[in-house]
Amino acid sequence: MSDLNKLTLAEARDLLRTGDVTSVALTEACLDAIEGAGALNAFVHKTPELALERAKAADARLAQGDAPAMCGLPIGIKDLFCTEGVASQAASRILDGFRPEYESTVSAQLRDAGAVMLGKLNMDEFAMGSSNETSVYGNAINPWKVDARDLTPGGSSGGSAAAVAADLCLAATGTDTGGSIRQPAAFTGTVGIKPTYGRCSRWGIVAFASSLDQAGPMTKTVRDAAIMLEAMCGHDAKDSTSADLPVPNFEAMLTGDIRGKTIGIPREYRIDGMPAEIAALWDKGADMLRDAGAKIVEISLPHTKYALPAYYVIAPAEASSNLARYDGVRYGHRATLSAGDGITEMYEKTRAEGFGPEVQRRVMIGTYVLSAGFYDAYYNRARKVRTLIKRDFEQAFAAGVDAILTPATPSAAFGLGEMADADPVQMYLNDVFTVTVNLAGLPGVSVPAGLDSQGLPLGLQLIGRPWEEGDLLNTAHVLETAAGFVAKPAKWW
């Protein structure tokens, strides 16, 4: 069988179970694809020996009939996840050489379910970015291309999105603090879900903004997202915010029936200057859900406009605290010191050398908004606005809305380097439709829904009620089926 790397998780799982394919064959197909895709710069630490070892073990488990859904399936892991004995540096120079002695809970659950890690995936440094251009490894490149330009795969999970779209792996892990799963998924024609805050353990995932960070799967289909999400979720005593709730069989909830569901269309998301193509796609998505038997209602989320500025207070504030641990003492990079340098110079030089410009900027903004005299004016005010943003959603759900449909991004993928001279705030606008979901702790999924006039993928986002990822994925499945998105990037790499 050829092109095994192009299979979905569900297809490969079924072929593994019938014995028509082996995990070793699947893994070798992916490793070959990765070898041939250096131009995409998606995989930044490859683990072929480890992958083949795990594939053999998975085949043995499959032969014994002891095989969870993910058993034998080759996946990529975002560099933000600590993986035992394998470089994990959050795409930052400051973690150069760091090889964790432990495995993150999410990647351990996938490993224990038999999934085969192919290597670590490119991303924005410390997950701070929307274009994968802040990575110490250099840019990840979108496999989608319409002219001579290299396009961004989005960020921060840009390597994950590029790898899945280019069939270098069957699926990948991502993390999402303000849109870092959903925006890259939209830019690459793939599916990405950020579950409810607390669904996936954050233990062992390099922390950016702890009250916003969540891991999730990045996959080729909604069904695959359901399969992989189930394996990633679950209570973990090592994360105090991990929810002690049963994890449903998400795949079994993909009934394709959304009759009687109410889908909200938030009027505040129709922002000034929204491209006509995005608006048209959004309307089309609403029509598809209506045709499937859902009731479409206009809703209001009045504080939407303030989500982005609130996010850019809260996330840097938390980051400035979380990143205080990178001091050149316990792990990673330490600057070469001059004669007479003391410990303060060691911290300052190490952090100046180890953090890139965007990370430095956010740490300093966070430090400023938490400093004496400004804490109330910025940080506390932002947290109050966050309460109001969450309340907007609660009121919509209380009024009977089951899910909310919005565009995933304000544009299709843009060219790498095109935002280089722009103000950082311009880059932040990429997250305008996605940050609200992190602030409110809700589940959100991006589904590929069409191509723009240049031929680049566009995504729609569905936002669900807390803990109702199964219901949300079912609606996403209906949207996916109706949109019938089957386009793949033409191979140029």
């Binding site: 952090r351 300093m364 109050k384 103000d423």
Partner: protein, 96 residues
């Protein structure tokens, strides 16, 4: 319009323990000012009587017995240190 002057930029860099060259301070101050200006949109919101959000989901933090759950792994803990000696993390001299 929020103005971060050079003195404030220098202070924020110091508090953040990030070395910034004097020559780079004006650009840093400008960049921080722009971001803070963007954040000032929050001043339009009426937050009178609103509690700041402290917990994303309405749950009580779990408690556990206050006991040792792990340990005895000195070598593993030191394995990634840039400078470890005699079972300790080593740093430049702190006390004169």
């Amino acid at each position: 319009m929020s103005e971060i002057d050079l003195e404030t930029a220098r202070k924020v860099a110091k508090l953040s323990r990030i070395a910034v060259a004097e020559a780079d301070l004006p650009e840093l101050a400008q960049s921080l000012s722009n971001i803070l200006t963007f954040m000032e949109e929050l001043n339009e919101v009426d937050v009178e009587g609103v509690e700041p959000m402290t917990s994303v989901t309405p749950m009580r933090l779990k408690r556990r017995a206050d006991g040792v759950t792990d340990g005895n792994m000195q070598a593993r803990i030191l394995s990634n240190a840039p400078d470890a000696r005699e079972g300790f993390f080593a740093v430049p001299k702190v006390v004169e």
